[in-house]
């Protein structure tokens, strides 16, 4: 359990450290180091879990099982690679005068704050704390969204703040209802402890839990970005600094979904009606389809990919909603590959925006001619996210389809329709940006594209051959969530 504590402690230290010393020259590199160490800690934790199964801390405050440990590693990994990307990126932003030193300090401090909140969401065993951490994540990032202080960014941050705040308040009401249901059967102290609740899920009042779940779904669903609660998401992603978009898309959404799934496990334990699953499927499919259409009308490159995040979160929600082992496995895999791919894309998108000095799709042209690595990175990333093999996204989408085909065959055409439309929407926008002659005045920037390559390589690897340990890991998580192993 020690690595888990350290994992939480280190970002906390980071907040203070960068709050005090964030104006130093090599602050970007420090940030990389912090995240590197957390990555190491997370791996240590993962090894522990791998060897000895689920860990529950003394006093039941924290729980690390195969489901969340893999998300922890993912979080740490994406946090690490994004920090690699963010160092030169933010330096460049400062160079061109978009940011002051103080804001940079705020940025790095809150980066750690956000990471802390993420780890807390993932490790905590207490549904209340989970809520608190979730809200803290919003609070940590809201100032980052408005970091540039343009009218648009302030607007975006305000919307992000209000919508997520109101949304998550509903999740709190759901949590209260859950608590209420729990104190009927157990003592007051442990009534919000997930592991206790999970063991006693059968005893909980199903009707209360169903209502509670509605609130949770609306609440955390706002953070996942489920249609029609998604409106903040494209704004926040597009107006903040790009590394933030990468972690928001790659991590925050995942963690919100994680919270929903944790709750769903409780509801499923209490009731046989599968109502939670149906709700998630409905929302998921709606988000998936609507976001696919949204992709066609984007004018801003980061908005484009934030809609793609909505689309994929919809797909995951849908898959978790189906709830069969197969679907769960697929959703877990999809979570991984989506995080990796999407954060890689945002890295390239950030550079693309820096190259052309604008985020407007119409003005970004000829990236391959200007800076081939960025252009190809964006193009291949887009291919990967659009679900073309041999990238991992295809594998997971294939599995989702397969699971859907087994359980709800009549829904498959909708899924496929969504995939097709989304693919068209992505490429009609991305293709003109990467191809063609470069416009006047577009210049290559200093960029570190290792994160992109590493992410895409992993995604490729997952698509071609999933390593055994990862498969085992996913399988264990699947067993945890859905009760049995896929095949």
């Amino acid at each position: 359990m020690i690595p888990a504590y350290l994992l939480l402690l280190l970002p906390l230290l980071g907040i203070v450290y960068f709050g005090l010393l964030g104006h130093k020259e090599d602050v970007g590199r420090q940030n990389i180091r912090f995240n590197g160490v957390t990555l190491f800690l997370s791996l240590w934790l993962a090894v522990n879990v791998f060897n000895s199964g689920s860990l529950i801390s003394a006093g039941d405050y924290f729980i690390v099982d195969s489901f969340n440990v893999y998300l922890i590693v993912l979080t740490a990994f994406v946090g690490f690679t994004t920090s690699i990307f963010s160092a030169p990126y933010m330096a460049h932003e400062q160079e061109i005068g978009k940011l002051t030193v103080n804001r940079l300090r705020l940025y790095y401090s809150m980066y750690q704050g956000f990471m802390f909140a993420m780890y807390l969401v993932l490790t905590t065993n207490n549904m209340g704390i989970m809520w608190v951490a979730m809200e803290a994540a919003t609070l940590a990032t809201v100032l980052l969204v408005s970091l540039y202080r343009t009218p648009e960014s302030i607007e975006a941050a305000w919307k992000y703040f209000i919508l997520c705040g109101v949304g998550i308040a509903q999740a709190l009401f759901g949590t209260i209802l859950l608590y209420y249901a729990a104190i009927q059967i157990s003592d007051v102290d442990n009534a919000l402890t997930w592991s206790v609740l999970y063991e006693n899920a059968k005893l909980l009042d199903p009707e209360i839990l169903e209502i509670a779940f509605v609130f949770m779904l609306i609440g955390y669903g706002t953070k996942i970005g489920l249609v029609p609660l998604h409106n903040w998401l494209p704004d926040a992603h597009s107006e903040g600094p790009t590394p933030m978009s990468a972690v928001l898309s790659g991590l925050l959404l995942n963690d919100a979904l994680y919270a929903v799934v944790r709750n769903k496990m409780l509801v499923d334990g209490a009731t046989d009606s599968h109502i939670a699953g149906y709700l998630m499927m409905g929302f998921g499919l709606l988000s998936f389809l609507v976001a696919a259409f949204f992709l066609h009308r984007q004018k801003d490159i980061k908005r484009l990919f934030s809609y793609s995040s909505i689309e994929h979160m919809g797909l995951m929600t849908f898959a978790f909603g189906i709830g069969t082992p197969f679907a769960t496995f697929a959703a877990l895999l999809h979570m991984t590959v989506h995080s990796l791919t999407k954060s890689a894309i945002f890295v390239t998108v950030g550079h693309a925006a820096q190259i052309s000095g604008t985020q407007s799709i119409e003005k970004i042209r000829g990236l391959i001619k200007t800076q081939p690595q960025v252009g190809w990175g964006l193009l291949i990333g887009t291919l990967a996210i659009a679900g073309f093999p041999p990238f991992g996204v295809f594998a997971s989408e294939f599995l989702v389809l397969l699971a859907t085909m087994q359980s709800y065959p009549w829904l498959t055409p909708f899924l496929l329709l969504g995939i097709g439309i989304a693919c068209a929407g992505l490429f009609r926008n991305v293709q003109p940006m990467v191809y063609g002659e470069k416009p006047e005045g577009q210049q290559a920037v200093q960029a570190n594209l290792w994160p992109v390559m590493i992410h895409l390589a992993i995604v490729l690897w997952l698509g071609l051959a999933m390593p055994d340990f990862l498969a085992d890991w996913f399988t264990q998580a699947t067993i945890l969530i859905s009760g049995s192993a896929p095949l």
């Binding site: 809520w131 803290a136 408005s146 607007e155």
Partner: protein
């Protein structure tokens, strides 16, 4: 169970619940910001009283802490902060013209009914006070949202947001005798930070669009012009 059969504690709680809901309605109809903030503080005070009474009647000391935090935050700090901003931004003379006030009030009333309708089936085997208190706090939450939907001053939105939190606290206090202490503290911390952030945002917004009218913040839309 009739109300005359209940103990005094329950009667008081129910009355406070009704008053909290009433304050929500008043806020909903309120067009002047200073009064809105005042009513909000009043609502906070009801909440504090309810918490304190619950602490007293169940002999649950940690609820006193909760009450104290609420008092500090919701009755004193946040209203004070909001009031300061209103005065600083010279908005205390603004009257927000609510379109179709009657319809909003009727809508609010039906929300109360709706809350009962939703929670009634699941509360059949619990006490009436719980049913009433939970339903009313749900109503307060929904009314808070309605407040935000109907008002277009950012400050009103903050008030609405905070009144949603009030509803949540009320529900937590009444139905479950308060959440675990850690959670309460965490939530309170979040509220505090949120309040501070709101203050920062008021400045940013007013400097960027020269007012706090959220309707003017619609640069980020995707509708064909």
């Amino acid at each position: 169970m009739e109300i005359e059969n209940l103990d005094h504690y329950s009667q008081v709680i129910l009355s406070l619940a009704a008053l909290v809901t009433l304050t929500s309605f008043i806020m909903l109809a309120q067009g002047r910001l200073l009064r809105l903030v005042f009513v909000f503080a009043l609502q906070g005070f009801m909440l504090v009283s309810a918490t304190a009474i619950a602490a007293y009647s169940f002999d649950n000391p940690h609820l006193y802490i909760s009450a104290a935090i609420t008092l500090a935050l919701k009755v004193l700090f946040i209203p004070w902060m909001l009031r300061r901003h209103i005065l600083k931004l010279n908005m205390h003379r603004d009257v927000e013209a609510l379109s179709n006030k009657t319809a909003i009030m009727m809508g609010g009333a039906s929300l109360v009914v709706f809350s009962y309708y939703v929670l009634h089936p699941i509360m059949q085997n619990s006490s009436m006070i719980l049913l009433n208190a939970l339903s009313l706090s749900l109503a307060v939450i929904l009314l808070g949202m309605l407040l935000m939907i109907s008002h277009h001053q950012a400050i009103a939105h903050v008030v609405g947001f905070m009144s949603i939190e009030n509803g949540l606290f009320f529900a937590a206090t009444v139905s479950t005798n308060g959440m675990p202490m850690v959670v309460e503290l965490g939530v309170a911390f979040d509220v505090l930070v949120a309040a501070v952030l709101f203050g920062i945002f008021f400045l940013h917004i007013s400097s960027s669009i020269d007012s706090l009218d959220v309707d003017k913040m619609n640069r980020l839309n995707e509708v064909d012009q």
